[in-house]
Amino acid sequence: MQVRKGVLELIILLSLRKHECYGYELITVVTGAMDFELTEGTIYPLLSRLHKDGLLTARWVEVPGGVPRKYYRLSERGQDALAAMQTSWIRLTYAVQRLMVDPGATRQEPTIRGSAK
């Protein structure tokens, strides 16, 4: 399954919610948890952008007998952004699921916000 960039960003932020990860580990987590094909390199521009936008913090860690790893962690700003993204995601998936169950759902409530009327 192919995923869009925005979804991959959400998955990255979710994966970094509890603990810090380095790139390779993150890819293992992402591909292990979900069933998708991922050109592994695509994760690095995303990490770079999230880091630049201040949603992630990063630090290099020496690995005894190995190559240093760059660990990423969710920043406070990243936690806020993740909370907002989760809310949007839940609303969207809820609306889509309702449409799947009842194709006429939009006629009664034309927008996602319509449910809050």
Binding site: K5, G41, P45, R49, G66, V67, K70
Partner: protein, 217 residues
């Protein structure tokens, strides 16, 4: 190159000889270094610190991938490096978003046409939405070039460039091959007007690019 001089921004020293997670086989090591050199070359337009750090991160990724395959019992180092590289992908493909981002940011801030052109080019391959918007901006810049070309061509073929008024009232502004029967109304005022149009539209379009760029992807 990659095995020697690179040091991370936090002064991590990666140059302590090749640890076990780096290939010892000469062919495997050559392939490994060629890949990282290629990544470094693709990323050459990024700020130096960012480029170095990115290459270090890819090196770290290869090392992890290589080591994991080794732990799983694959003894063929060359095959392990090949597999690690295949999974990671070609730098010129997956680094495009970073390159486009950086070039467009720099280009929009400095109004540098080459950076803008390169940034738009990389973005054309960076997904459907960003691609379409980039093509639209590129078309805008090409139209602006037409104004600059008018100013230039007025010097060489003055009778074909300008504001043409035809006896039947039709009016055309631009570069025309056939101007039979038309009267050119602006004369050499076309040059400053076209140059002013080029400058103003270039600035406006670039400011538009700067303001909307974050929402393209």
């Amino acid at each position: 190159m990659i095995n020697r001089p690179l040091a991370g921004p936090t002064d991590v020293d990666v140059d302590q000889g090749n640890p076990p997670c780096v290939p010892r086989d000469a062919d495997a090591l050559r392939l490994w270094n060629d890949y990282l050199d290629d990544a470094s070359r693709v990323a050459r337009r990024l700020p130096e610190t960012e480029r170095r750090e990115l290459v270090l991160e890819l090196r770290s990724h290869l090392a992890e991938s290589f080591a994991v395959a080794g732990e799983l019992g694959d003894a063929d180092e060359l095959a392990r490096v090949r597999a690690a590289i295949a999974r990671l992908g070609r730098p010129r493909d997956f680094l495009r978003p970073i390159l486009a981002d950086h070039l467009l940011e720099q280009g929009a801030n400095t109004f540098h046409p080459r950076l803008l052109a390169e940034g738009l080019y990389h973005n054309v391959f960076g997904g459907l939405k960003a691609g379409i918007i980039s093509v639209a901006f590129a078309v805008g810049y090409v139209l602006i070039i037409v104004f600059a070309a008018m100013a230039l061509m007025k010097a060489f073929v003055p009778s074909h460039v300008g504001y043409f008024v035809y006896p039947n009232g039709t009016r055309t502004f631009g570069i025309l091959a056939d101007t039979t029967g038309a009267r050119e109304a602006l004369g050499f005022w076309v040059v400053p007007l076209a140059l002013a149009a080029t400058t103003v539209l270039y600035i406006l379009l670039t400011l538009g690019l700067r303001a909307t760029r974050r929402f393209w992807g």
